[in-house]
Protein backbone atom coordinates (compact mmCIF):
# COMPACT_ATOMS: atom_id res chain seq x y z
CA UNK A 1 0.00 0.00 0.00
CA UNK A 2 2.73 2.47 0.91
CA UNK A 3 4.37 1.77 -2.46
CA UNK A 4 1.16 2.69 -4.17
CA UNK A 5 0.89 5.90 -2.16
CA UNK A 6 4.47 6.82 -3.01
CA UNK A 7 3.92 6.04 -6.67
CA UNK A 8 0.80 8.19 -6.79
CA UNK A 9 2.53 11.03 -4.91
CA UNK A 10 5.40 10.96 -7.36
CA UNK A 11 2.95 11.03 -10.22
CA UNK A 12 1.20 14.06 -8.74
CA UNK A 13 4.53 15.86 -8.34
CA UNK A 14 5.34 15.19 -12.00
CA UNK A 15 1.93 16.59 -12.90
CA UNK A 16 2.67 19.77 -10.97
CA UNK A 17 5.99 20.10 -12.76
CA UNK A 18 4.27 19.49 -16.09
CA UNK A 19 1.63 22.08 -15.23
CA UNK A 20 4.29 24.71 -14.48
CA UNK A 21 6.14 23.80 -17.67
CA UNK A 22 3.00 24.23 -19.75
CA UNK A 23 2.43 27.64 -18.14
CA UNK A 24 6.04 28.63 -18.85
CA UNK A 25 5.90 27.45 -22.47
CA UNK A 26 2.54 29.15 -23.02
CA UNK A 27 3.96 32.48 -21.89
CA UNK A 28 6.74 32.21 -24.49
CA UNK A 29 4.52 31.12 -27.38
CA UNK A 30 4.72 34.53 -29.02
CA UNK A 31 8.47 34.65 -28.56
CA UNK A 32 8.55 37.87 -26.58
CA UNK A 33 6.69 37.97 -23.26
CA UNK A 34 7.57 41.64 -22.83
CA UNK A 35 5.28 42.57 -25.71
CA UNK A 36 2.58 40.52 -24.02
CA UNK A 37 2.85 42.14 -20.64
CA UNK A 38 3.55 45.79 -21.41
CA UNK A 39 0.76 47.99 -22.77
CA UNK A 40 0.63 48.41 -26.55
CA UNK A 41 2.60 51.46 -27.65
CA UNK A 42 5.41 51.11 -25.12
CA UNK A 43 8.70 52.47 -26.42
CA UNK A 44 11.62 50.22 -27.36
CA UNK A 45 13.56 51.53 -24.36
CA UNK A 46 10.75 50.63 -21.97
CA UNK A 47 10.55 47.19 -23.52
CA UNK A 48 14.29 46.66 -23.18
CA UNK A 49 14.26 47.77 -19.57
CA UNK A 50 11.30 45.53 -18.78
CA UNK A 51 13.02 42.57 -20.47
CA UNK A 52 16.11 43.14 -18.39
CA UNK A 53 14.14 43.65 -15.20
CA UNK A 54 12.13 40.43 -15.73
CA UNK A 55 15.17 38.48 -16.88
CA UNK A 56 13.84 37.87 -20.38
CA UNK A 57 17.30 38.67 -21.82
CA UNK A 58 18.81 35.68 -20.03
CA UNK A 59 19.22 32.23 -21.66
CA UNK A 60 15.94 30.33 -21.87
CA UNK A 61 16.98 27.49 -19.54
CA UNK A 62 18.00 30.01 -16.90
CA UNK A 63 14.61 31.72 -17.19
CA UNK A 64 12.93 28.32 -16.90
CA UNK A 65 14.80 27.40 -13.74
CA UNK A 66 14.12 30.80 -12.19
CA UNK A 67 10.46 30.49 -13.12
CA UNK A 68 10.20 27.04 -11.53
CA UNK A 69 11.94 28.16 -8.32
CA UNK A 70 9.69 31.21 -8.05
CA UNK A 71 6.53 29.33 -8.97
CA UNK A 72 7.10 26.67 -6.34
CA UNK A 73 7.18 29.50 -3.79
CA UNK A 74 3.93 30.83 -5.22
CA UNK A 75 5.62 33.79 -6.89
CA UNK A 76 4.21 34.49 -10.36
CA UNK A 77 5.27 38.12 -10.39
CA UNK A 78 3.39 41.35 -9.82
CA UNK A 79 -0.13 41.80 -11.10
CA UNK A 80 0.05 44.51 -13.76
CA UNK A 81 -3.47 45.67 -12.96
CA UNK A 82 -3.43 45.53 -9.16
CA UNK A 83 0.25 46.38 -8.59
CA UNK A 84 0.71 43.63 -6.02
CA UNK A 85 1.80 39.98 -6.11
CA UNK A 86 -0.42 38.06 -8.51
CA UNK A 87 -0.73 35.10 -6.15
CA UNK A 88 -2.03 37.37 -3.40
CA UNK A 89 -4.79 38.63 -5.70
CA UNK A 90 -5.71 35.08 -6.68
CA UNK A 91 -5.71 33.68 -3.15
CA UNK A 92 -8.05 36.43 -1.98
CA UNK A 93 -10.58 35.21 -4.50
CA UNK A 94 -10.06 31.54 -3.79
CA UNK A 95 -12.49 31.02 -0.86
CA UNK A 96 -15.40 32.22 -3.01
CA UNK A 97 -14.58 29.66 -5.71
CA UNK A 98 -14.19 26.92 -3.14
CA UNK A 99 -17.54 27.78 -1.57
CA UNK A 100 -19.27 27.68 -4.94
CA UNK A 101 -17.58 24.48 -6.14
CA UNK A 102 -18.21 22.55 -2.93
CA UNK A 103 -21.87 23.55 -2.72
CA UNK A 104 -22.33 22.59 -6.37
CA UNK A 105 -20.55 19.28 -5.86
CA UNK A 106 -22.78 18.26 -2.96
CA UNK A 107 -25.95 19.39 -4.69
CA UNK A 108 -24.91 17.79 -7.98
CA UNK A 109 -24.02 14.50 -6.32
CA UNK A 110 -27.36 14.30 -4.50
CA UNK A 111 -29.42 15.16 -7.60
CA UNK A 112 -27.37 12.88 -9.84
CA UNK A 113 -27.37 9.89 -7.48
CA UNK A 114 -31.10 10.05 -6.78
CA UNK A 115 -31.93 10.41 -10.48
CA UNK A 116 -29.61 7.61 -11.57
CA UNK A 117 -30.83 5.32 -8.80
CA UNK A 118 -34.50 5.86 -9.61
CA UNK A 119 -33.87 5.43 -13.34
CA UNK A 120 -32.10 2.11 -12.82
CA UNK A 121 -34.71 0.66 -10.46
CA UNK A 122 -37.75 1.82 -12.43
CA UNK A 123 -36.59 0.49 -15.78
CA UNK A 124 -39.06 0.72 -18.60
CA UNK A 125 -41.31 3.19 -16.79
CA UNK A 126 -42.12 6.74 -17.74
CA UNK A 127 -40.01 7.77 -14.74
CA UNK A 128 -36.86 6.32 -16.29
CA UNK A 129 -37.60 7.92 -19.64
CA UNK A 130 -38.11 11.28 -17.96
CA UNK A 131 -34.99 11.02 -15.82
CA UNK A 132 -32.77 9.96 -18.71
CA UNK A 133 -34.15 12.54 -21.13
CA UNK A 134 -33.40 15.21 -18.56
CA UNK A 135 -29.91 13.81 -18.01
CA UNK A 136 -29.18 13.74 -21.76
CA UNK A 137 -30.43 17.30 -22.12
CA UNK A 138 -28.36 18.29 -19.10
CA UNK A 139 -25.22 16.91 -20.71
CA UNK A 140 -25.90 18.78 -23.93
CA UNK A 141 -26.72 22.10 -22.29
CA UNK A 142 -23.76 24.44 -22.12
CA UNK A 143 -23.32 25.83 -18.67
CA UNK A 144 -23.45 29.47 -19.79
CA UNK A 145 -26.81 28.98 -21.45
CA UNK A 146 -28.24 27.18 -18.44
CA UNK A 147 -27.05 30.13 -16.39
CA UNK A 148 -28.74 32.67 -18.63
CA UNK A 149 -31.99 30.69 -18.69
CA UNK A 150 -32.03 30.34 -14.89
CA UNK A 151 -31.45 34.09 -14.55
CA UNK A 152 -34.28 34.72 -16.98
CA UNK A 153 -36.71 32.51 -15.07
CA UNK A 154 -35.80 32.94 -11.42
CA UNK A 155 -34.28 36.41 -11.31
CA UNK A 156 -36.06 38.31 -14.07
CA UNK A 157 -39.50 36.70 -14.38
CA UNK A 158 -40.15 35.42 -10.87
CA UNK A 159 -37.81 37.78 -9.05
CA UNK A 160 -37.09 35.19 -6.37
CA UNK A 161 -33.32 35.31 -6.47
CA UNK A 162 -30.61 37.85 -7.31
CA UNK A 163 -29.21 37.62 -10.85
CA UNK A 164 -25.65 37.93 -9.67
CA UNK A 165 -23.31 39.17 -7.00
CA UNK A 166 -21.97 37.85 -3.76
CA UNK A 167 -22.78 38.02 -0.08
CA UNK A 168 -25.90 36.25 1.11
CA UNK A 169 -26.98 32.66 0.74
CA UNK A 170 -29.49 33.76 -1.90
CA UNK A 171 -26.62 34.83 -4.12
CA UNK A 172 -25.16 31.34 -3.94
CA UNK A 173 -28.29 29.49 -5.05
CA UNK A 174 -28.35 30.16 -8.80
CA UNK A 175 -24.65 29.69 -9.58
CA UNK A 176 -24.54 26.55 -7.45
CA UNK A 177 -27.62 25.06 -9.12
CA UNK A 178 -26.22 25.86 -12.56
CA UNK A 179 -23.03 23.96 -11.82
CA UNK A 180 -24.83 21.20 -9.93
CA UNK A 181 -27.28 20.42 -12.74
CA UNK A 182 -24.38 20.26 -15.16
CA UNK A 183 -22.44 17.62 -13.23
CA UNK A 184 -25.50 15.73 -11.99
CA UNK A 185 -26.34 14.74 -15.57
CA UNK A 186 -23.12 12.76 -15.98
CA UNK A 187 -23.45 11.24 -12.50
CA UNK A 188 -27.00 10.11 -13.20
CA UNK A 189 -26.14 8.48 -16.51
CA UNK A 190 -23.09 6.71 -15.14
CA UNK A 191 -24.84 5.45 -11.99
CA UNK A 192 -27.78 4.15 -14.01
CA UNK A 193 -25.64 2.17 -16.43
CA UNK A 194 -23.43 0.73 -13.71
CA UNK A 195 -26.49 -0.20 -11.61
CA UNK A 196 -28.00 -1.99 -14.58
CA UNK A 197 -24.77 -3.92 -15.11
CA UNK A 198 -24.62 -4.93 -11.47
CA UNK A 199 -28.27 -5.97 -11.28
CA UNK A 200 -27.35 -8.68 -13.82
CA UNK A 201 -24.63 -10.12 -11.58
CA UNK A 202 -24.99 -13.52 -9.99
CA UNK A 203 -24.58 -12.29 -6.43
CA UNK A 204 -27.59 -10.02 -6.84
CA UNK A 205 -29.64 -12.92 -8.16
CA UNK A 206 -28.47 -14.96 -5.19
CA UNK A 207 -29.48 -12.21 -2.82
CA UNK A 208 -32.95 -12.14 -4.34
CA UNK A 209 -33.16 -15.94 -4.23
CA UNK A 210 -32.24 -15.94 -0.56
CA UNK A 211 -35.30 -13.79 -0.04
CA UNK A 212 -33.54 -10.75 1.32
CA UNK A 213 -35.59 -7.63 1.71
CA UNK A 214 -35.42 -5.77 -1.61
CA UNK A 215 -34.47 -2.45 -0.09
CA UNK A 216 -31.61 -4.15 1.72
CA UNK A 217 -30.35 -5.71 -1.49
CA UNK A 218 -30.31 -2.40 -3.25
CA UNK A 219 -28.69 -0.54 -0.41
CA UNK A 220 -26.05 -3.09 0.51
CA UNK A 221 -25.32 -4.95 -2.69
CA UNK A 222 -26.30 -2.93 -5.71
CA UNK A 223 -25.74 0.69 -4.79
CA UNK A 224 -22.49 0.07 -3.00
CA UNK A 225 -20.87 -1.62 -5.96
CA UNK A 226 -22.43 0.68 -8.51
CA UNK A 227 -20.89 3.65 -6.75
CA UNK A 228 -17.31 2.60 -7.51
CA UNK A 229 -17.24 3.91 -11.10
CA UNK A 230 -18.93 7.09 -9.87
CA UNK A 231 -16.12 7.62 -7.36
CA UNK A 232 -13.52 7.18 -10.11
CA UNK A 233 -15.34 9.72 -12.19
CA UNK A 234 -15.06 12.29 -9.39
CA UNK A 235 -11.64 13.24 -10.73
CA UNK A 236 -13.04 14.02 -14.17
CA UNK A 237 -16.02 15.76 -12.59
CA UNK A 238 -13.67 17.94 -10.57
CA UNK A 239 -12.18 19.16 -13.84
CA UNK A 240 -15.62 19.91 -15.23
CA UNK A 241 -16.61 21.58 -12.01
CA UNK A 242 -13.55 23.84 -11.95
CA UNK A 243 -13.86 24.73 -15.65
CA UNK A 244 -17.57 25.24 -15.19
CA UNK A 245 -16.91 27.49 -12.22
CA UNK A 246 -14.91 29.82 -14.48
CA UNK A 247 -17.95 30.26 -16.70
CA UNK A 248 -20.55 30.32 -13.92
CA UNK A 249 -18.58 32.93 -11.97
CA UNK A 250 -18.46 35.14 -15.05
CA UNK A 251 -22.21 34.87 -15.65
CA UNK A 252 -23.20 35.56 -12.07
CA UNK A 253 -20.39 38.06 -11.34
CA UNK A 254 -19.26 35.75 -8.55
CA UNK A 255 -15.97 37.13 -7.22
CA UNK A 256 -13.95 33.92 -7.51
CA UNK A 257 -10.74 32.89 -9.22
CA UNK A 258 -12.57 32.03 -12.44
CA UNK A 259 -14.02 35.45 -13.10
CA UNK A 260 -10.66 36.92 -12.07
CA UNK A 261 -8.87 34.85 -14.73
CA UNK A 262 -11.29 35.95 -17.45
CA UNK A 263 -10.87 39.58 -16.45
CA UNK A 264 -7.09 39.14 -16.41
CA UNK A 265 -7.12 37.57 -19.88
CA UNK A 266 -9.12 40.50 -21.20
CA UNK A 267 -6.87 43.11 -19.58
CA UNK A 268 -3.67 41.20 -20.47
CA UNK A 269 -2.71 40.87 -16.81
CA UNK A 270 -0.64 37.82 -17.55
CA UNK A 271 0.86 37.08 -14.10
CA UNK A 272 -2.66 36.82 -12.69
CA UNK A 273 -3.71 34.47 -15.50
CA UNK A 274 -0.70 32.29 -14.70
CA UNK A 275 -1.26 32.30 -10.96
CA UNK A 276 -5.00 31.65 -11.37
CA UNK A 277 -4.56 28.75 -13.78
CA UNK A 278 -1.84 27.34 -11.51
CA UNK A 279 -4.06 27.45 -8.41
CA UNK A 280 -7.10 25.92 -10.10
CA UNK A 281 -5.06 23.19 -11.79
CA UNK A 282 -3.19 22.47 -8.58
CA UNK A 283 -6.54 21.81 -6.93
CA UNK A 284 -7.47 19.56 -9.80
CA UNK A 285 -4.26 17.55 -9.35
CA UNK A 286 -4.81 17.36 -5.58
CA UNK A 287 -8.42 16.18 -5.96
CA UNK A 288 -7.32 13.49 -8.37
CA UNK A 289 -4.63 12.39 -5.97
CA UNK A 290 -7.11 12.12 -3.11
CA UNK A 291 -9.65 10.31 -5.30
CA UNK A 292 -7.05 7.78 -6.42
CA UNK A 293 -5.85 7.15 -2.90
CA UNK A 294 -9.36 6.64 -1.50
CA UNK A 295 -10.19 4.49 -4.46
CA UNK A 296 -7.19 2.32 -3.67
CA UNK A 297 -8.60 1.94 -0.16
CA UNK A 298 -12.06 1.03 -1.42
CA UNK A 299 -10.97 -1.49 -4.01
CA UNK A 300 -7.92 -3.60 -3.17
CA UNK A 301 -7.59 -4.80 -6.78
CA UNK A 302 -6.34 -1.38 -7.83
CA UNK A 303 -3.41 -1.52 -5.45
CA UNK A 304 -2.26 -4.94 -6.60
CA UNK A 305 -2.37 -4.01 -10.28
CA UNK A 306 0.11 -1.24 -9.76
Amino acid sequence: MSRYVLFRLGEALISVWGLLTIIFVAARLTGDPALLMLPIGSTEAQLAEFRHQMGFDRPLWEQYVTFLINAVQGDFGESLLHQRPAMEVVLERFPATLQLALTALVMGAVIGLVTGFVAALKRGTILELLAMTLALLGQATPIFWLGVVLILVFAVQLGWLPAGGYGTLAHLVLPAITLALFISASIARLLRSSMIEILKENYIRTAFAKGLIIRRIHMHHTARNALIPVVTMLGILAGELLSGAVVAETIYSWPGVGSLIILAVQSKDFPVVQAGVAIISLNFILINLVVDLTYGLLDPRIRIER
Binding site: A140, P142, V149, V246, I262, V277
Partner: protein, 284 residues
Protein backbone atom coordinates in the same frame (compact mmCIF):
# COMPACT_ATOMS: atom_id res chain seq x y z
CA UNK B 1 -23.69 -0.01 -45.00
CA UNK B 2 -27.17 -1.44 -45.31
CA UNK B 3 -26.91 -3.08 -41.92
CA UNK B 4 -25.62 0.21 -40.53
CA UNK B 5 -28.64 2.17 -41.80
CA UNK B 6 -31.04 -0.55 -40.73
CA UNK B 7 -29.73 -0.46 -37.18
CA UNK B 8 -29.71 3.32 -37.17
CA UNK B 9 -33.39 3.51 -38.10
CA UNK B 10 -34.22 0.89 -35.47
CA UNK B 11 -32.61 2.97 -32.75
CA UNK B 12 -34.80 6.00 -32.17
CA UNK B 13 -32.14 7.90 -30.24
CA UNK B 14 -29.50 7.21 -32.88
CA UNK B 15 -31.85 8.23 -35.65
CA UNK B 16 -32.76 11.46 -33.89
CA UNK B 17 -29.06 12.21 -33.45
CA UNK B 18 -28.32 11.44 -37.09
CA UNK B 19 -31.15 13.71 -38.25
CA UNK B 20 -29.86 16.57 -36.08
CA UNK B 21 -26.34 16.14 -37.42
CA UNK B 22 -27.40 15.86 -41.08
CA UNK B 23 -29.63 18.93 -40.71
CA UNK B 24 -26.80 20.85 -39.07
CA UNK B 25 -24.35 20.01 -41.84
CA UNK B 26 -26.92 20.75 -44.54
CA UNK B 27 -27.85 24.10 -42.99
CA UNK B 28 -24.26 25.19 -42.59
CA UNK B 29 -23.35 24.24 -46.17
CA UNK B 30 -26.40 26.01 -47.56
CA UNK B 31 -26.20 28.91 -45.11
CA UNK B 32 -25.94 31.77 -47.65
CA UNK B 33 -28.97 30.47 -49.57
CA UNK B 34 -31.03 29.42 -46.56
CA UNK B 35 -30.64 32.56 -44.49
CA UNK B 36 -33.71 34.69 -45.21
CA UNK B 37 -31.83 37.94 -44.52
CA UNK B 38 -28.29 39.24 -44.45
CA UNK B 39 -26.94 38.13 -41.03
CA UNK B 40 -24.68 41.20 -40.80
CA UNK B 41 -27.23 43.79 -41.94
CA UNK B 42 -27.91 46.32 -39.21
CA UNK B 43 -31.39 47.79 -39.09
CA UNK B 44 -31.82 50.07 -36.12
CA UNK B 45 -35.47 50.77 -36.89
CA UNK B 46 -36.25 47.11 -36.18
CA UNK B 47 -34.01 46.62 -33.15
CA UNK B 48 -35.12 44.10 -30.53
CA UNK B 49 -38.17 43.13 -32.59
CA UNK B 50 -39.93 40.18 -30.98
CA UNK B 51 -40.39 36.89 -32.86
CA UNK B 52 -43.30 36.90 -35.28
CA UNK B 53 -44.65 34.14 -37.41
CA UNK B 54 -46.61 36.12 -39.99
CA UNK B 55 -45.61 35.14 -43.49
CA UNK B 56 -46.26 38.41 -45.24
CA UNK B 57 -44.47 41.63 -44.32
CA UNK B 58 -40.93 42.83 -44.93
CA UNK B 59 -40.26 43.26 -41.23
CA UNK B 60 -40.93 39.60 -40.57
CA UNK B 61 -38.47 38.06 -38.13
CA UNK B 62 -39.38 34.46 -37.16
CA UNK B 63 -36.96 34.51 -34.20
CA UNK B 64 -36.86 38.27 -33.65
CA UNK B 65 -33.94 40.67 -34.01
CA UNK B 66 -31.00 41.56 -31.81
CA UNK B 67 -29.94 44.83 -30.21
CA UNK B 68 -28.94 46.37 -33.53
CA UNK B 69 -31.76 44.91 -35.59
CA UNK B 70 -30.02 41.92 -37.16
CA UNK B 71 -32.24 38.95 -37.95
CA UNK B 72 -31.61 36.24 -35.36
CA UNK B 73 -32.70 33.32 -37.55
CA UNK B 74 -30.23 34.37 -40.24
CA UNK B 75 -27.50 34.81 -37.67
CA UNK B 76 -28.12 31.36 -36.21
CA UNK B 77 -27.98 29.86 -39.70
CA UNK B 78 -24.81 31.71 -40.54
CA UNK B 79 -23.37 30.88 -37.11
CA UNK B 80 -23.86 27.17 -37.80
CA UNK B 81 -21.28 27.48 -40.55
CA UNK B 82 -18.69 29.05 -38.24
CA UNK B 83 -19.38 26.40 -35.61
CA UNK B 84 -19.09 23.53 -38.09
CA UNK B 85 -15.89 24.81 -39.70
CA UNK B 86 -14.19 25.49 -36.37
CA UNK B 87 -15.31 22.24 -34.76
CA UNK B 88 -14.62 20.02 -37.76
CA UNK B 89 -11.16 21.49 -38.40
CA UNK B 90 -10.26 21.26 -34.73
CA UNK B 91 -11.39 17.63 -34.48
CA UNK B 92 -9.60 16.69 -37.73
CA UNK B 93 -6.38 18.37 -36.62
CA UNK B 94 -6.57 16.95 -33.11
CA UNK B 95 -7.49 13.56 -34.55
CA UNK B 96 -4.59 13.53 -37.00
CA UNK B 97 -2.20 14.52 -34.24
CA UNK B 98 -3.60 12.06 -31.71
CA UNK B 99 -3.85 9.14 -34.13
CA UNK B 100 -0.28 9.58 -35.40
CA UNK B 101 1.13 9.87 -31.90
CA UNK B 102 -1.00 6.93 -30.74
CA UNK B 103 0.19 4.81 -33.67
CA UNK B 104 3.83 5.60 -32.96
CA UNK B 105 3.40 5.02 -29.23
CA UNK B 106 1.61 1.72 -29.60
CA UNK B 107 3.74 0.36 -32.41
CA UNK B 108 7.23 1.23 -31.26
CA UNK B 109 6.67 1.10 -27.51
CA UNK B 110 9.62 1.78 -25.25
CA UNK B 111 10.71 5.27 -24.24
CA UNK B 112 8.90 6.94 -27.13
CA UNK B 113 5.63 5.47 -25.90
CA UNK B 114 6.33 6.55 -22.36
CA UNK B 115 7.05 10.12 -23.43
CA UNK B 116 3.93 10.42 -25.57
CA UNK B 117 1.57 8.95 -23.01
CA UNK B 118 3.17 11.01 -20.26
CA UNK B 119 2.57 14.14 -22.32
CA UNK B 120 -1.08 13.18 -22.69
CA UNK B 121 -1.36 12.69 -18.93
CA UNK B 122 0.36 15.99 -18.25
CA UNK B 123 -1.94 17.91 -20.48
CA UNK B 124 -4.92 16.42 -18.70
CA UNK B 125 -3.62 17.80 -15.42
CA UNK B 126 -4.92 21.20 -16.51
CA UNK B 127 -8.68 21.43 -16.99
CA UNK B 128 -9.30 21.91 -20.73
CA UNK B 129 -11.01 25.29 -20.50
CA UNK B 130 -8.13 26.69 -18.45
CA UNK B 131 -5.61 25.26 -20.88
CA UNK B 132 -7.49 27.00 -23.69
CA UNK B 133 -7.62 30.22 -21.66
CA UNK B 134 -3.90 30.38 -21.02
CA UNK B 135 -3.07 29.80 -24.69
CA UNK B 136 -5.66 32.35 -25.89
CA UNK B 137 -4.38 34.83 -23.34
CA UNK B 138 -1.02 34.72 -25.09
CA UNK B 139 -1.95 34.28 -28.73
CA UNK B 140 -4.94 36.60 -28.59
CA UNK B 141 -8.46 35.68 -29.66
CA UNK B 142 -8.92 34.85 -33.34
CA UNK B 143 -10.51 32.14 -35.44
CA UNK B 144 -7.20 30.44 -36.26
CA UNK B 145 -6.02 30.50 -32.66
CA UNK B 146 -9.35 29.11 -31.57
CA UNK B 147 -8.94 26.13 -33.89
CA UNK B 148 -5.35 25.56 -32.73
CA UNK B 149 -6.38 25.61 -29.08
CA UNK B 150 -9.31 23.28 -29.60
CA UNK B 151 -7.12 20.85 -31.57
CA UNK B 152 -4.47 20.95 -28.84
CA UNK B 153 -7.04 20.09 -26.18
CA UNK B 154 -8.42 17.18 -28.19
CA UNK B 155 -5.50 15.02 -29.27
CA UNK B 156 -5.06 13.11 -26.01
CA UNK B 157 -8.23 11.05 -26.24
CA UNK B 158 -7.41 9.99 -29.81
CA UNK B 159 -3.88 9.06 -28.82
CA UNK B 160 -5.06 6.87 -25.95
CA UNK B 161 -7.66 4.95 -27.93
CA UNK B 162 -5.33 4.49 -30.91
CA UNK B 163 -2.50 3.26 -28.75
CA UNK B 164 -4.77 0.75 -27.06
CA UNK B 165 -5.98 -0.58 -30.41
CA UNK B 166 -2.46 -0.77 -31.83
CA UNK B 167 -1.24 -2.74 -28.83
CA UNK B 168 -3.70 -5.50 -29.64
CA UNK B 169 -3.21 -5.30 -33.41
CA UNK B 170 0.57 -5.35 -33.27
CA UNK B 171 0.81 -9.06 -32.59
CA UNK B 172 -1.97 -10.16 -34.93
CA UNK B 173 -1.15 -12.60 -37.75
CA UNK B 174 -1.67 -10.21 -40.63
CA UNK B 175 0.73 -7.70 -39.15
CA UNK B 176 3.31 -10.35 -38.36
CA UNK B 177 3.06 -11.80 -41.85
CA UNK B 178 3.42 -8.36 -43.41
CA UNK B 179 6.52 -7.93 -41.31
CA UNK B 180 7.76 -11.34 -42.42
CA UNK B 181 7.19 -10.37 -46.04
CA UNK B 182 9.62 -7.54 -45.49
CA UNK B 183 7.24 -4.56 -45.25
CA UNK B 184 8.74 -1.46 -43.67
CA UNK B 185 7.42 0.19 -40.52
CA UNK B 186 5.63 2.95 -42.41
CA UNK B 187 3.89 0.51 -44.71
CA UNK B 188 2.75 -1.68 -41.85
CA UNK B 189 1.52 1.32 -39.85
CA UNK B 190 -0.41 2.95 -42.65
CA UNK B 191 -1.54 0.01 -44.77
CA UNK B 192 -2.24 -2.60 -42.14
CA UNK B 193 -2.76 -1.01 -38.76
CA UNK B 194 -4.29 2.41 -39.48
CA UNK B 195 -7.40 1.09 -41.32
CA UNK B 196 -8.20 -1.10 -38.32
CA UNK B 197 -7.90 1.80 -35.94
CA UNK B 198 -10.16 4.13 -37.88
CA UNK B 199 -13.48 2.75 -36.62
CA UNK B 200 -12.57 3.51 -33.03
CA UNK B 201 -11.19 6.88 -34.10
CA UNK B 202 -14.44 7.81 -35.83
CA UNK B 203 -16.40 7.06 -32.68
CA UNK B 204 -14.04 9.20 -30.63
CA UNK B 205 -14.23 11.94 -33.26
CA UNK B 206 -18.02 12.09 -32.98
CA UNK B 207 -17.94 12.41 -29.22
CA UNK B 208 -15.09 14.92 -29.47
CA UNK B 209 -17.16 17.01 -31.87
CA UNK B 210 -19.79 17.56 -29.19
CA UNK B 211 -17.15 18.56 -26.67
CA UNK B 212 -15.48 20.95 -29.10
CA UNK B 213 -18.78 22.64 -30.02
CA UNK B 214 -19.44 23.32 -26.32
CA UNK B 215 -15.89 24.53 -25.67
CA UNK B 216 -15.96 26.75 -28.75
CA UNK B 217 -19.23 28.36 -27.79
CA UNK B 218 -18.03 28.76 -24.20
CA UNK B 219 -14.88 30.57 -25.36
CA UNK B 220 -16.90 32.71 -27.76
CA UNK B 221 -19.33 33.42 -24.92
CA UNK B 222 -16.42 34.66 -22.83
CA UNK B 223 -15.37 36.87 -25.73
CA UNK B 224 -12.24 34.83 -26.47
CA UNK B 225 -13.39 32.83 -29.47
CA UNK B 226 -15.04 33.89 -32.70
CA UNK B 227 -14.76 37.67 -33.01
CA UNK B 228 -17.55 40.04 -34.07
CA UNK B 229 -19.14 40.87 -36.42
CA UNK B 230 -19.09 37.17 -37.37
CA UNK B 231 -22.10 35.37 -36.00
CA UNK B 232 -21.24 32.77 -33.40
CA UNK B 233 -23.80 31.11 -31.17
CA UNK B 234 -21.76 31.60 -28.02
CA UNK B 235 -21.16 35.25 -28.80
CA UNK B 236 -24.83 35.88 -29.65
CA UNK B 237 -25.76 34.42 -26.30
CA UNK B 238 -23.28 36.64 -24.50
CA UNK B 239 -24.58 39.73 -26.29
CA UNK B 240 -28.15 38.77 -25.48
CA UNK B 241 -27.37 38.46 -21.79
CA UNK B 242 -27.67 42.23 -21.26
CA UNK B 243 -31.16 42.20 -22.73
CA UNK B 244 -32.37 39.12 -20.90
CA UNK B 245 -34.94 41.13 -18.96
CA UNK B 246 -36.57 42.75 -21.98
CA UNK B 247 -35.78 40.52 -24.96
CA UNK B 248 -35.56 36.86 -23.99
CA UNK B 249 -35.26 35.67 -27.60
CA UNK B 250 -31.75 37.07 -28.00
CA UNK B 251 -30.13 34.51 -25.75
CA UNK B 252 -32.72 31.74 -25.91
CA UNK B 253 -32.56 30.67 -29.56
CA UNK B 254 -28.77 30.40 -29.96
CA UNK B 255 -28.81 28.27 -26.81
CA UNK B 256 -31.46 25.99 -28.26
CA UNK B 257 -29.31 25.60 -31.37
CA UNK B 258 -26.26 24.60 -29.33
CA UNK B 259 -28.25 22.12 -27.23
CA UNK B 260 -29.79 20.49 -30.31
CA UNK B 261 -26.44 20.03 -32.05
CA UNK B 262 -24.63 18.73 -29.00
CA UNK B 263 -27.50 16.44 -28.09
CA UNK B 264 -27.66 15.14 -31.66
CA UNK B 265 -23.95 14.52 -31.94
CA UNK B 266 -23.88 12.84 -28.51
CA UNK B 267 -26.77 10.54 -29.35
CA UNK B 268 -25.24 9.62 -32.70
CA UNK B 269 -21.85 9.06 -31.08
CA UNK B 270 -23.29 6.89 -28.29
CA UNK B 271 -25.16 4.85 -30.82
CA UNK B 272 -22.14 4.45 -33.11
CA UNK B 273 -20.05 3.35 -30.17
CA UNK B 274 -22.55 0.66 -29.24
CA UNK B 275 -22.90 -0.42 -32.84
CA UNK B 276 -19.25 -0.61 -33.83
CA UNK B 277 -17.57 -1.54 -30.63
CA UNK B 278 -19.33 -2.07 -27.33
CA UNK B 279 -16.00 -2.49 -25.56
CA UNK B 280 -15.31 1.21 -26.13
CA UNK B 281 -18.05 2.18 -23.71
CA UNK B 282 -15.45 3.57 -21.32
CA UNK B 283 -14.52 6.28 -23.82
CA UNK B 284 -16.26 9.04 -21.98
Amino acid sequence: MKRFLHHLVASRAGLFGAICVVLFVAVSIGAPILAPKDPLKINLADRLASPTLSLSTVGNYPLGTDQIGRDILSRIISGSRVTLIVAATAVLLGGAMGISLGLVAGYFGGWIERIIMRLADLQLSIPLLLFALIVIAVLGPSLVNLVIVLALTGWTRFARITRGEVLSLREREFVLSAKGAGAGHLRILFRHILPNVLTAAIVVATLELARVVILESALSFLGLGVQPPNASWGRMLADGREYVATAWWLSTFPGVAIVLIVLGVNLLGDWMRDFFDPKLSGVR
